[in-house]
């Protein structure tokens, strides 16, 4: 317990570390109420919300025997792989385009109108078109995930580059920095906090979009598990898959937070 409390103090924004004494207590209360409402009190029928036992059995089932075409490991790995791939490609292209637009007014004039036009389209609205283009396989999902993560990466990188302190730029210039040194030593580090803000938003968008895309149609993945469980009227499995998505989302966000702290040591001390 003492260790859990300490870990909670150490935790930073990103990973939801609700392991303070009070937080743990309220969590246990919720678990208890859940067990009571679905068990002895019989407030919610097993077809609407699972009991802890249903939840546990669904977990055992998908881990050992598999569900909707694969074991938990297969399904999770499939979804995780798509998110990571889409996220990495989207960050690279998004941060790249944001930097380009921030550094070159000409590029911004050229690209920004198109970007502003595409930007308000919700990523999920692309799903039908993506399916037409790429079918129900991975390509369509990667495309939609890429789009979802791309937009916040571009916007936040651009904002970060625009917000670079002019005086620091001048100071670097008068001490002899070339244009490429200005970009590497001033613009990028100065924009890094905003870039990471964009990446965090992108990552969340990736998970949202992935689950939605897999719900619409998929051969494997957590969304496929959710969809199948809904058709099978299996609330235990639905809840289990939801918890899996939550854990995956929190885990990847925590990884990104760790990366962020490594990338910006000056913000720690």
């Amino acid at each position: 317990m003492a260790q859990a409390v300490r870990a909670g103090r150490r935790g930073r924004a990103g990973m939801p570390q609700v392991v303070s004494r009070g937080g743990l207590l309220s969590f246990l209360v919720v678990l208890g109420l859940w067990a009571l409402a679905t068990g002895p009190l019989d407030l919610v029928g097993p077809a609407r919300f699972p009991s802890p036992a249903d939840f546990w059995q669904s977990g055992v089932q998908i881990v050992t025997r598999g569900y909707a075409g694969g074991t938990l490991l297969t399904q999770v790995w499939h979804s995780l792989r798509l998110v990571l791939f889409g996220f990495v490609v989207a960050s690279a292209t998004g941060v790249g385009l944001g930097l380009l637009m921030g550094l070159s007014p000409r590029a911004e004039k050229l690209i920004n109108p198109t970007f502003l036009l595409l930007r308000p389209i919700p990523p999920l609205a692309w799903i039908p078109l993506a399916i037409l283009w790429f079918g129900l396989g991975d390509a369509a999902k990667i495309f939609v995930i890429w789009y979802a993560a791309f937009v916040p990466s571009v916007i936040n990188t651009l904002t970060g580059v625009r917000g670079v302190d002019r005086t620091i730029l001048s100071a670097a210039e008068v001490h002899g920095a070339s244009r490429s040194q200005l970009v590497r030593d001033v613009v990028i580090p100065a924009a890094l906090p905003m870039i990471f803000t964009g990446l965090r938003l992108s990552l969340q968008a990736c998970w949202t979009t992935l689950v939605a895309a897999e719900l619409v149609g998929a051969f494997f993945g957590i969304g496929r598990v959710l969809m199948t469980a809904s058709q099978d009227v299996n609330p235990g499995m639905i809840l289990f898959a939801m918890v899996c998505v939550a854990i995956l989302g929190a885990g990847t966000t925590w990884l990104l937070g760790t990366l962020e702290r490594r990338a910006m040591p000056w913000r720690q001390a």
């Binding site: 620091i168 001048s170 100071a171 670097a172 008068v174 001490h175 002899g176 001390a269």
Partner: protein
């Protein structure tokens, strides 16, 4: 004017009929009106004047961060075309890179120039000692006090070994005590490392204590009102042999201070009218 003459004994900095007009020529705002000023080799010139008199614009022109509407700005007989490490600037807001350690900030100019790591280490070591920053080499700027941050900024400027140091109210953001310490340190530093310095300040005391000459500017239009020689007084009254608080108590010092104050007051009156 592009080619430097080799055996020049001319001024380090020369402003020749420098004007800066914002807006169109007719109804525009005249920030600087045909300013003529020369600064000799290793001279310390302080510029004082009310806000809007164009003193910062003048300094930015010498730095190559701003350009005149008409007239010439020459540094060592070369027309200023842009920033360069021969003219380092110390800014009021320090302008350190928050993501670089003290050592990397000081060594930044050398790194830009492509100096060898061993040379960077040697030079930064020297300035870390000189500016009493030992033990803070790996600290980030925000972990330091304002005075220490400005010492890092001054060290960064000295480290590129510039011909000309341009200081834009470098102590303006510091508290009064730190300011006194820094003024005294700057005097000591310029004794060890004589440089041509243009120093902009709002503080008349600071100008009188530090400068060889004081340029008093007026505004609307921005112009030079008077140039006062302080060096001969400093030498004859032996200011350099006394600590700063005693210098500031000397009659010769207070006299000079009052003289500059009066000039500034007159400038403000004449503009208000």
């Amino acid at each position: 004017m592009i080619s430097p003459s080799t055996a020049t004994s001319g001024p380090d900095i020369a402003f020749r009929k420098v004007s800066k007009v914002y807006g169109n020529a007719e109804g525009g705002f005249v920030a600087l009106d045909k300013v003529d000023l020369t600064v000799s080799r290793h001279e310390f010139v302080a510029i004082v004047g009310p806000s809007g008199c164009g003193k910062t614009t003048l300094m930015r022109m010498a730095a190559g961060l701003d350009f005149p509407t008409s007239g010439d700005v020459l540094v060592r007989d070369r027309q200023v075309e842009g920033p360069g490490p021969d003219r380092a600037v110390v800014f009021q807001q320090f302008a350190l890179m928050p993501w670089k350690t003290v050592r990397d900030n000081i060594g930044f100019g050398l790194k830009c120039r492509g100096a060898a790591p061993s040379e960077i280490k040697q030079v930064t070591d020297r300035y870390i000692t000189m500016m009493r920053l030992q033990g803070h080499e790996s600290a980030f700027p925000h972990q330091l006090s304002g005075g220490m941050q400005q010492r890092v900024a001054i060290a960064r400027s000295y480290a590129v070994d510039p011909d000309v140091l341009l200081m834009d109210e470098p102590f303006g953001a510091l508290d009064a005590q730190t300011r006194l310490v820094m003024q005294e340190e700057l005097v000591q530093l310029s004794r060890v490392n004589p440089r041509t310095v243009v120093f902009i300040t709002h503080s008349v005391e600071e100008a009188v204590f530090l400068a060889d000459r004081i340029v008093v500017m007026g505004r609307n239009p921005g112009r030079i009102v008077e140039i006062i020689d302080v060096k001969s007084l400093r030498l004859s009254e032996r200011w350099d042999e006394l600590p700063i608080e005693e210098v500031m108590d000397l009659e010769s010092f207070t006299h000079m201070r009052t003289r500059v104050w009066k000039l500034l007051k007159d400038t403000k009156r004449s503009t208000a009218a």
